[in-house]
Amino acid sequence: MSYVLDNLKYTESHEWIEKLDNGNVRIGITEHAQSALGDIVFVELPEEDSYATGDECGVVESVKTASDIYTPIAGTIVAVNDALEDAPELINESPYDDGWIFEMEVDNADDLDDLLTAEEYRNSITEDED
């Protein structure tokens, strides 16, 4: 069963967004997304650069398929999770924690309000399953 954490924001494309204390956001893919992909074997990490909302910035590849990662919000990528280079399976094992993918400095903090709440994301994946 998919689990969705209440304290995070989400996108339709299955990224989660966590607000950090310094005002930046941390981003990964949801438990639901990793489960659909299956065993993850390669992550093409984003370049540290500025992006618009919804830009393709990286790729997560499972044995089965390749899936793009999108920036959920406009801003600058300031950090990436290098541990995924040697251990891409962290996304399967710990999607909301050790399996985070990148951090962004957000252009406009108000944009965060446009993201899905946990409740809204939960509903969107239930519809997928029906």
Binding site: S35, G38, D39, V41, F42, E44, V59, E61, V63, K64, A66, E85
Partner: protein, 359 residues
């Protein structure tokens, strides 16, 4: 349209399978981790429900004659109880399907073809058989369980009835036991030892459960694909299709040379005369990344190729692929992956056989 289900469907759900649409069949892609399932088959034992595959029984006085026309390989090589892999060609020399044919007795054969090509194959059989005193029957009431891995045979010996076990203990590779309730070929699609068991739908769940008790790991079609790719075995629709000649995709060994009286023979001769321009090769990515179907290859002289099947190889922990490339392809080859050109190494197939890596 509702999806087809095999008689083991509930067993898959009970085992926690993630089900996917596989050519109209609701089939298990994995039961948790396809990598773990892959390793189970390479190192121990696993089983696959392949009941979606199409089984065709052929009989009649001219069955052999019909197969000589229908198939590129030579069924006259077969003695009773022996299996043969063959391509089935159209008149242009393209591959309609690949299949296994078992000779049960004189003019009595059992053929297993792919599920995805079922309708096309049956239509072709129908069309081709008219000139022969032979008839074929589809056998949808048969389930098929592939038990594969270095310890697969031992597990089967444990669970099968004594008389069948006795026969299995003496069964040679690529031969079959043809008993009333069990048809068991020592064949497979993983590069490991093992069997493919044809059994009535009524008895299939019972056998599956006995194999589960003998600690045979249920494996999904995801693991089946990485196993066959490591073993350098072709997948219909990717590594071959209606427009690809067996001579240009590494399947020349399935085509007999000495006679011309089979479908596609003329096209084969023509191609040999005009010159074969492509070949199948193994490809290994030497940096991080994953090789995939349809990625382009280019060599130092600008000659090109295309990846037909690619994935991460759990046994070697690198990305591997099968590719159709120019016959004169060079050695300094790059693959285009999204916006990057990455270096690859060309290797002979298979990548892995009987648990041992060749790369």
């Amino acid at each position: 349209m509702s999806m087809n289900k095999t008689c083991l469907h509930q067993a898959h759900i009970d085992a926690g399978a993630k089900m996917v649409d596989f050519g109209g069949w609701d089939m298990p892609i994995n039961y948790g981790s396809q990598i773990e399932e892959h390793h189970a088959v390479r190192k121990d034992k696993g089983m696959f429900d392949v009941s979606h595959m199409t089984v065709i029984d052929l009989s009649g006085n001219e069955s052999e004659k019909f197969l000589l026309k229908l198939l590129a390989n030579d069924v006259r090589k077969l003695i009773d109880g022996k299996a043969l892999y063959s391509t089935m060609l159209n008149n242009n020399g393209g591959i309609i399907d690949d299949l296994i044919v078992y000779k049960r007795s004189t003019n009595n054969y059992r053929i297993v073809v792919n599920a995805a090509t079922r309708e096309k194959d049956l239509a072709w059989f129908d069309q081709q058989i008219t000139d022969f005193d032979a008839e074929f029957t589809e056998m949808p009431q048969l389930a098929m369980i592939a038990v594969q891995g270095p310890k697969a045979i031992a597990a089967c010996l444990e669970v099968l009835p004594e008389d069948i076990s006795q026969q299995l203990s003496e069964l040679k590779k690529f031969c079959a036991i043809d008993a009333e309730d069990y048809f068991i070929g020592r064949t497979g699609y993983t590069g490991e030892d093992g069997v493919e068991i044809l059994i009535s739908e009524d008895n299939a769940t019972n056998l599956w459960n006995k194999l589960l008790k003998a600690e045979v790991k249920p494996c999904g079609l995801g693991a089946r694909d990485t196993l066959r790719l490591e073993a350098g075995m072709h997948l219909y629709g990717q590594d071959m299709n209606d427009d690809i000649s067996p001579l240009e995709c590494g399947l020349a060994w399935t085509v007999r040379k000495e006679d011309v009286d089979f479908n596609g023979a003329e096209a084969m001769n023509q191609l040999r005369q005009n010159g074969i321009t492509k070949k199948m090769t193994g490809v290994v990515l030497t940096t991080r990344g994953i090789l995939r179907h349809d990625q382009q290859l280019v060599d130092e002289n600008g000659l090109t190729g295309i990846i037909t099947s690619g994935s991460f190889s759990p046994s070697t922990e690198v990305a591997i692929a099968m590719a159709i490339v120019d016959k004169n392809f060079g050695s300094e080859v790059k693959v285009q992956i999204r916006k990057k050109e990455l270096p690859v190494k060309l290797v002979k197939l298979p990548f892995v056989r009987n648990g041992v890596s060749n790369i």
